[in-house]
Amino acid sequence: MSILVYAEHDNVSIKGATLNTVAAAKAIGGDIHVLVIGAGCQAAAEAAAKIDGVSKVLVADNAAYGHQLAENIGALVAELGKGYSHILAPATSNGKNFLPRVAALLDVNQISEISKVVSPDTFERPIYAGNAIATVQSSDAIKVLTVRPTGFDAVAATGGSAAIEAVAVAKDMGLSTFVSEELAKSDRPELAGAKIVVSGGRGMGNGDNFKILYTLADKLGAAVGASRAAVDAGFVPNDMQVGQTGKVVAPQLYIAVGISGAIQHLAGMKDSKVIVAINKDEDAPIFSVADYGIVGDLFDIVPQLEKLI
């Protein structure tokens, strides 16, 4: 068996979710090739070659791939993927965007967001917002899978020395053009890969009050997230949303502040190792999943917590 793994990267370095995806490939077992697609992405390809367990890196460096437009990279991955038994991508917004195109072009179904490899053709995945776990078996010739990063412990980013091979195929379908992007700038770690996450909910009251969470997070080296209620209320931007329809996180420590614990939020964080809940309502559902709960006014508790650690 040979497995093709799509690498998530920023042209210079490999993003963490790629390492979890290589871990899923290792659990399947076989020769692992990593595909780096981009414009000016040589440095990322060199970083990919160092990932533990990777035997070859394919690099498709072309202006048409600059913004990972699904129409172009979908066509490329479908062509390169024909000879593989499995094609994997992390279940990031990129992976979710282009990989179903690859599956359709190869005339196979995709299995989305696998959280465990049972055997090379059988996988576990959450359904109904994580309220049930399905074990599914694919009879398709090529298994096309997105991988939920929190389901797999990342492989080491160093220690490998894979050969790098350039791919000359240029696929510009002429269907789509990049216009602009607005990415939140932050010195804090990314939500998806952070070891500690501090999240605020509707109880924060407004966007300004999130400052106390930022102060706490900076002291802990943590990322800051939010519940859907806080995002919908306009306190913070949508890319901070933790939950089934936002980001799924599984840090070592998750601190939920003023979050009641709606089912869709729990789906996004209940695999965290340790959960702390701070809420003034002692009956809030968040306490049913928290290892440590503290009932009280978050505006007293959070500053105290920040001082004591």
């Binding site: 995709q110 959450p126 709960g293």
Partner: protein
């Protein structure tokens, strides 16, 4: 231009789903069903584009059991002009649904196809992208703003870390994210009118599609239980537990 909207009948999002005792799936008997919330947003977007004079006709389609007519009637009460039910009692997986929708696109020639980004039952997030690939169309997934002007679509997409805006050729497949719009409620007169709107019934075979699944569900289980922990009285106690018991800070 004509718009095609695809919708799905799913367990209502307010229902807490339960796994069946024999682990074959989740309990669907006597459970309230509704239109998938992302699909409601898709219908709403098409209706708003019609109100702006950009869309001239809205065709709504679903693939599912006979009872899925209810969701087509709901979409028509919200403003869709006619419905197509591709009826099947069997489970149809995303690739086969995308092939059926491709068949409908070949017949209807819509310039704009809107779907929800995912259904809240299977959480697959595939059908729109697959349809776009099969038809050779551009796609604007996870859309939070859709503008149609000058013979193209400009779509702002919710991506990891922020927003991305792309220009897309028509015909285009758009999949909706939560913040694209807030769907309206159907008024009683519109619900009555919707009952008289045309609804065609077809089968997957009418579009030459073999709908047999290639992914088999072996079992469905409840997720691992997470036990409630303890409540601490003071912040000092919390910090002590995190340092010495949980050892996470």
């Amino acid at each position: 231009m004509k718009a095609l909207v695809a919708v799905k009948r799913v367990v209502d999002y307010n229902v807490k789903v339960r796994v069946k005792a024999d682990k074959t799936g989740v309990e669907l008997a006597n459970v309230k069903m509704a239109m998938n919330p992302f699909c409601e947003i898709a219908v709403e977007e098409a209706v708003r584009l019609k109100e702006k004079g950009i869309v001239s006709e809205i065709v709504v389609v679903t693939v599912g059991p006979s009872a899925a007519q209810e969701q087509l009637r709901t979409a028509m009460a919200l403003g869709a002009d006619r419905g197509i039910l591709v009826e099947t009692a069997e489970e149809v997986q995303p690739l086969a649904i995308a092939k059926i929708l491709k068949g409908i696109c070949d017949e209807e020639q819509p310039q704009l196809i809107i779907l929800g980004k995912q259904a809240i039952d299977g959480d697959n997030n595939q059908t729109g992208q697959m349809l776009a690939a099969l038809a050779g169309y551009a796609q604007g997934t996870f859309a939070s703003i859709v503008k149609i002007e000058g013979g193209k679509a400009t779509v702002t997409r919710e991506v990891d870390g922020g927003l991305q805006t792309v220009d897309l050729n028509l015909p285009v497949v758009v999949t909706t994210d939560l913040r694209l719009n807030e769907p309206r409620y159907a008024s009683l007169p519109n619900i009555m009118k919707a009952k008289k709107k045309p609804l065609d019934t077809k089968s997957p075979a009418d579009y030459g599609v073999n709908a047999a699944p290639t992914v088999k569900t072996l079992k469905v289980e409840p997720p691992a239980d997470r036990k409630a922990g303890i409540k601490v009285k003071t912040v000092e106690e919390l910090v002590e537990k995190l340092k010495n018991e949980a050892k996470v800070i």
